[in-house]
């Protein structure tokens, strides 16, 4: 739409002065009635300590909850499947009910740590196929650290 920049009907930067005034009033009213809770600002500040500098980050490759079908709301949430990968390794995660099952590929990882945004950590071992499990479904954001002989790999944060 080459003309959208000049057509007042379609250019959003053109606004009725009364509308602009109401929008300014609304900004004040919403900020007063619904401010960011200071507790959440604290969690945002605290997020910085989780910065990883020397551990390899495994990026999210697949998320069964991602996708365009935003209007589909499951009333009986079933499992969530996630897949993370670095150039050399992948971590598959299946969450169902109150269990997290997963696998580190290639096999050889000695164990996996579940890190919670609260700072808590839970460790578990891996079997010879690299499979691991946690028998709890944590609330809030978490990430997994796979302890491999080549070095640790940490996933992006996710919520299940």
């Amino acid at each position: 739409m080459s003309d959208s920049g000049t057509n007042p009907e379609t250019d959003p930067s053109v606004m009725d002065p009364d509308d602009a005034g109401l929008l300014s009033e609304l900004r004040l009213a919403v900020d007063a009635a619904d401010p960011v809770p200071s507790r959440l600002i604290e969690t945002a500040r605290a997020a910085f300590v989780w910065r990883t500098v020397d551990v390899e980050l495994a990026h999210l490759q697949f998320d069964s909850l991602a996708g365009a079908d935003v209007l589909v709301r499951s009333d009986t949430p079933t499992g969530v499947h996630l897949s993370f990968a670095t150039a050399a390794a992948s971590i598959e995660v299946d969450v169902a009910d109150d269990t997290i099952l997963g696998q580190v590929v290639p096999a050889g990882a000695t164990g996996v740590t579940l890190l919670l945004g609260s700072g808590r950590r839970v460790d578990t071992g891996c079997d010879e196929l690299g499979q691991f499990s946690f028998h709890s479904r944590p609330s809030g954001p978490v990430r997994l650290v796979a302890h491999q002989p080549q070095g640790d790999v940490v996933t992006e944060w996710f919520t299940v």
Binding site: E9, L22, R27, A29, P37, I41, T43, T52, T159
Partner: protein
């Protein structure tokens, strides 16, 4: 004359991002301060439980912390945060059912103490009425208006991308939502109920 919406990026944004990348916690806190409200507006456009709202807010900032080193264009940081928060909201909606389990934690998210105590009573009452009128709008209107009042402002092309609507329809939709807001406010001012 209406001021142009594309306000320039605060000159210190590139410096703050660079400093935070170097591990400067003060710079990170300044970034949080600058964008705390924007992330909040994006999330509050969804009707999530308190627990899910907190999770999404925290996850968004954790994501930024882990992606900080990959931010090449500091001026796009607001858009990046808004998109990340929105994606997490959509995910939280789908995660659905189990949110309710944690709703009984009685988390009082609204921080009443943040309001200045010496605000004129009339302003407070007018704000309260406008807030109630806003809360009565459709979710689509609330989402658009929140993105429009967020500071620092999001560029229109980013708003269009986030909401999946064309840039050309932002103006007319905004006008319609504000007209409804005006009507609702009128009803509440007369002491009526919607």
């Amino acid at each position: 004359m209406i001021p142009p919406r594309l306000t320039p990026v605060k000159p210190d944004l590139p410096r703050l991002v660079a400093a935070a990348q170097q591990g400067d916690a003060e710079a990170w806190n300044a970034l949080v301060e600058q964008f705390a409200g924007l992330v909040w507006h994006v999330i509050r456009g969804f009707r999530l439980s308190n627990a899910a709202t907190e999770d999404v807010y925290q996850t968004t900032w954790l994501r930024l912390a882990e992606h900080l080193d990959r931010i090449r264009q500091p001026e796009s940081l607001g858009g990046w945060l808004a998109r990340t928060a929105r994606n997490e909201c959509l995910r939280a909606v789908k995660l659905g059912g189990r949110e309710d389990l944690r709703d009984d934690l009685d988390l009082d998210l609204v921080d009443r103490t943040a309001a200045p105590v010496d605000r004129a009573v009339e302003t407070e009452a007018a704000n309260e009425i406008l807030w109630r009128a806003f809360a009565s709008l459709s979710q689509a209107c609330q989402q658009l208006l929140r993105l429009l009042i967020a500071e620092p402002p999001l560029p229109y092309d980013r708003i269009s991308e986030l909401l999946g609507i064309s840039i050309g329809s932002i103006g007319p939709t905004r006008a319609r939502c504000l007209a409804k807001l005006r009507t609702s406010r009128g009803v509440y001012l007369l002491g009526g109920d919607l």
